[in-house]
């Protein structure tokens, strides 16, 4: 039995590893095709990526990516494809920034208030898709994409001078009222740049994700629906309620994505607020196999690749090559998981068969001798 377990672990690691290696190879081919030497590019990325200021950058960036990966993974565990994480986190961060800018309470009250506002807004926005799916049968893929556009439009409308936005002194950027000093989240004073404190919250979120899914009744029900909604319904799970609940949870987690930026970096929601992290989250959740540790590793990989991309530009490479690499990784991951999954299932079936046949044979022999 131990053997099969070890094997499952091995197979589990094999797929993402295979995907990353394949992606590097394909990227190398692409680089070679454009007439550039591929391996020195990888060398540049690696050398630059392990520098200490790069490490801080990667950790900070990965914090955001990790939360995005978790938000998407909650949906994936349910077989729900929450493409709307992107709209959810932006809308959540925007309203949280607006609330935070309007108040001046002690940090101990205001920071949780901002975070909770973000989670509620994210949950509500995702909840719309959940309710549409259960009441009207609208695919969450379609509705969440649409909600992304609507979120963009809402933010665009409200983020204007005279509404919730203010033109900055230089007259170049519109942003919400900056958070008061008391609402800045703590930092770890590392050199040359500090590590953001929100990494702690991200870690707590990861543990909560793991505990809820693996150790609670609710998590079991959620995973059951993800594996087979027919079996879940027969076992007594209210599938519709579960769809709405998990969309709410996914949205609440999405609400956290903008918080490291808002509370540790920008302290306001402006036109420069990062976009598209929800989509990055999809790739990260896929690569991390929806596992809390896997998502962490793939978030770090993603941040590392992006850090490397900055340096590539200085060295005369196109930074888009990293985008190619990331895209190829996602494609390879999807293929590799399916291949490894089928292989593993077949292999296990065969091994169980062999083991039982062997047992049966020894039984026969003892019967004969007895």
């Amino acid at each position: 039995m131990k053997k099969i377990d070890k094997e499952r672990l091995l197979l589990g690691i094999a797929a993402p590893l295979l995907a990353v290696v394949a992606a590097f190879l394909i990227t190398a081919l692409v680089l070679a095709a454009t007439g550039k030497e591929p391996f020195s590019a990888f060398g540049i990325m690696f050398d630059y990526g392990v520098k200490s200021d790069s490490q801080v950058y990667i950790i900070n960036k990965a914090t955001t990516y990790y939360l995005a990966g978790l938000a998407v993974a909650i949906g994936f565990r349910m077989n729900l494809f929450n493409i709307g994480v992107d709209g959810q986190y932006r809308l959540a961060a925007f309203f949280a920034a607006a609330v935070g800018g309007a108040l001046t309470l002690p940090g101990i009250v205001q920071i949780p208030l901002i975070i909770i506002t973000a989670m509620i807004v994210g949950a509500m926005w995702a909840g719309i898709a959940g309710v549409l799916k259960t009441t009207r049968g609208v695919s969450e893929v379609v509705s969440t994409i649409m909600l992304n556009f609507i979120a963009t439009a809402i933010i665009g409308y409200l983020l204007q001078p005279g509404r919730l936005g203010h033109l900055d002194a230089a007259g170049t950027e519109v942003a919400t009222t900056p958070l008061p000093e008391s609402s800045h989240f703590f930092e770890f004073p590392t050199t040359p740049t500090p590590i953001i404190g929100f990494v702690v919250i991200a870690a707590i979120a990861g543990v909560a994700y793991w505990f809820t899914l693996a150790r609670t009744r609710f998590g079991f029900d959620l995973r059951t629906v993800g594996r087979s909604d027919t079996a879940a319904a027969a076992s007594g799970v209210n599938v519709k309620k579960m769809v709405v609940t998990s969309m709410l949870l996914s949205g609440a987690m999405a609400g956290l994505i903008g918080m490291p930026t808002l509370l540790n970096e920008s302290y306001a929601y402006g036109s420069g607020f990062p976009l598209g992290i929800g989509f990055t989250g999809i790739a990260i959740a896929l690569l991390g196999r929806n596992h809390p540790v896997g998502i962490a590793l793939s978030a770090i990989l993603w941040a590392f690749l992006e850090r490397g991309a900055q340096q590539l530009e200085f060295e005369g490479y196109d930074r888009e090559i990293v985008g190619v690499m990331q895209g190829v990784i996602v494609l390879c991951v999807v293929i590799a998981y399916e291949v490894v999954r089928r292989f593993g299932l077949k292999r296990q079936q065969r091994r169980v068969g062999e083991k039982l046949a062997a047992q049966a044979r020894t039984n026969d022999k003892t019967e004969v001798s007895a």
Partner: protein
């Protein structure tokens, strides 16, 4: 290794039956004979000539054709279209093909109408279309994989008449089954397969079902048990005027359950007979709370559960062995211990409050594996890697572990080997003795008659007939299942019955 050292010789112009438990390797053997799978070693010879089949096309070219257990027909095409599909080159797709089909149909007495849509045909007719499809492609040897599994007794007899016609015309039929009574009545030769190898042959003229079953299982069968009634007069489940309508694929609203009423008492097994698709699945779904009836009252042990959600009903003591264990009873890609939690996540030993108790659940899974003889190397393998019989034993063990008041058993021994079948029957009987009420739904009429205390027949969503399992025969039940007889079925002629399994209950009948 699924098969090893298989030796079979099939004589031309005979019906050769291949019997064995589920999982014995019959299907694998058939796949090899039909070119769907390649053997590691060994040879196949047709008419004395050694052949290699790389794909089903090669097999057909050699005159070997297969009728699958699950029909491979397109519902929205006509019979003609289905038959020519993929073989358009043979006789075209027009009148020439139609004439050829008619010719074959008449030659073997298949009675095929070429221009009806397949969706309008019954199961038996569809099967004849499948047979015709194979003959149309020039097959001289037909492989039939469990052809009787979907038929009622009358249809089985008609099929056997067809097979005899084929035989008379010099065709060869390989007939796979585990229904031994049928095998004995139709086969000329019998080969028994056990654990992937041929263990013997039998002459149907001098063999009883019991001998054949013992050859199949490799040991003596459990001896029949005398029936003692354990029925009490305390109602456990009362169903009153249950009605449910559903929209069928054509958009027509149809009553799938129509005024169904019955009572199951403590210690009683109520059997429901019926051709599949007459509302049995919907009845189970409604009692489990997965579908909501238009009207009707459900009372479990004196409590009205008509509006209770599924989980509450399960907690209140309804256990369910579902009809389709892969869709409703298991998480195939989850390990066994998670499957043990499925459906009982709120109950002990699986959880304490809102937190799962993994240790206790795993321990209890090990107990189930031990007590219910689930053959597995451990509880961490996925449910998908177990054989059908062992999956079913796990489900039975799980449902029985929560002391149910009512057990719904839908086809509890379908696709289960003989040994497991006997065990499952024993467990149902034991539980019944302790006051369990059982709703038994089965397509296996012998199982129904053998286990039930009361029998009802379901036809088009209504309970149309009832019968006393002590005297009724499968034929009599069969005619009520097709809607030909209603009301209280009386056993008519105790002597005029020649079917061997008619007198055997599941206690000593192996299928």
């Amino acid at each position: 290794m699924a098969n090893h050292d298989i030796d079979i010789t099939v004589r031309r112009g005979t019906v050769h039956a291949l019997v064995g438990e589920n999982g014995a390797g019959k299907s694998t053997l058939m796949k090899i004979l039909y070119g769907m799978q390649k053997p590691d070693e060994g040879t196949i010879a047709v008419d004395g000539e050694q052949v290699t089949f790389n794909n089903p096309g090669d097999a057909i070219a050699r005159g070997v054709g297969m009728v699958h257990q699950h029909f491979m027909l397109a519902d929205n095409l006509t019979v003609l279209e289905n038959v020519v599909l993929g073989s358009e080159k043979l006789y075209g797709i027009g009148d020439k093909a139609r004439a050829k089909i008619k010719e074959i149909s008449e030659a073997y007495g298949l009675g095929i109408r070429t221009d009806v849509l397949v969706e309008d045909l019954g199961v038996a007719d569809r099967q004849r279309v499948e047979i015709l499809k194979v003959l149309y492609r020039g097959a001289r040897t037909l492989i039939l994989d469990e052809p009787t599994a979907v038929l009622v007794p009358q249809e089985v007899d008609a099929l056997f008449d067809n097979l005899r016609e084929l035989k008379a015309e010099g065709l060869t039929v390989i007939f796979i089954s585990h229904k031994l009574g049928e095998v004995l009545s139709v086969a000329d030769d019998i080969t028994v397969i056990r654990r992937g190898t041929t263990v013997g042959t039998a002459d149907p003229a001098h063999t009883t079902t019991k001998q054949l079953a013992e050859l199949m299982v490799g040991s003596e069968l459990p001896s029949p048990e005398t029936r003692e009634s354990t029925v009490t007069d305390v109602p456990m489940l009362t169903v009153e005027d249950l009605s449910l309508s559903a929209v069928d694929p054509d958009g027509v609203v149809r009553a799938v359950l129509d005024g169904v009423s019955f009572t199951i008492h403590k210690g009683e097994v109520l059997g429901i007979a019926g051709v599949e698709g007459n509302g049995q699945s919907e009845l189970v779904d409604t009692i489990m709370g997965m579908r909501h009836p238009d009207r009707g009252v459900l009372t479990l042990d004196g409590t009205d559960i008509s509006t209770a959600p599924t989980r509450k009903r399960r907690e209140d003591g309804i256990g369910c062995i579902p009809e389709d264990r892969h869709r409703h009873g298991l998480l195939l890609e989850a390990p066994l211990w998670e499957n043990r939690i499925l459906g009982h996540v709120t109950e002990k030993p699986n959880s304490k409050g809102a937190i799962l108790d993994l240790k206790a659940a795993r321990r209890d899974t090990e107990r189930i594996v031990r007590e219910y003889d689930v053959r597995t190397p451990g509880i961490d393998v996925t449910a998908a890697s177990l054989s059908g019989g062992n999956q079913q034993k796990l489900i039975v063990g799980r449902e029985m572990s929560h002391a149910p008041k009512l057990l719904i058993a839908a086809h509890p021994t379908r696709g289960v080997d003989v040994g497991a079948q006997a065990q499952i029957w024993d467990q149902i009987r034991d539980a019944r003795r302790e006051g369990l009420a059982v709703l038994l739904i089965s397509a296996d009429l012998d199982e129904l008659i053998g286990l039930s205390d009361t029998l009802r027949v379901m036809y088009r969503g209504r309970l149309v007939a009832d019968a006393d399992p002590a005297t009724i025969t499968p034929e009599e039940l069969g005619s009520a299942m097709t809607g030909a007889a209603t009301g209280h079925l009386e056993h008519e002629s105790p002597e005029g019955d020649s079917r061997p399994e008619a007198t055997d209950g599941p206690e000593d009948e192996a299928r």
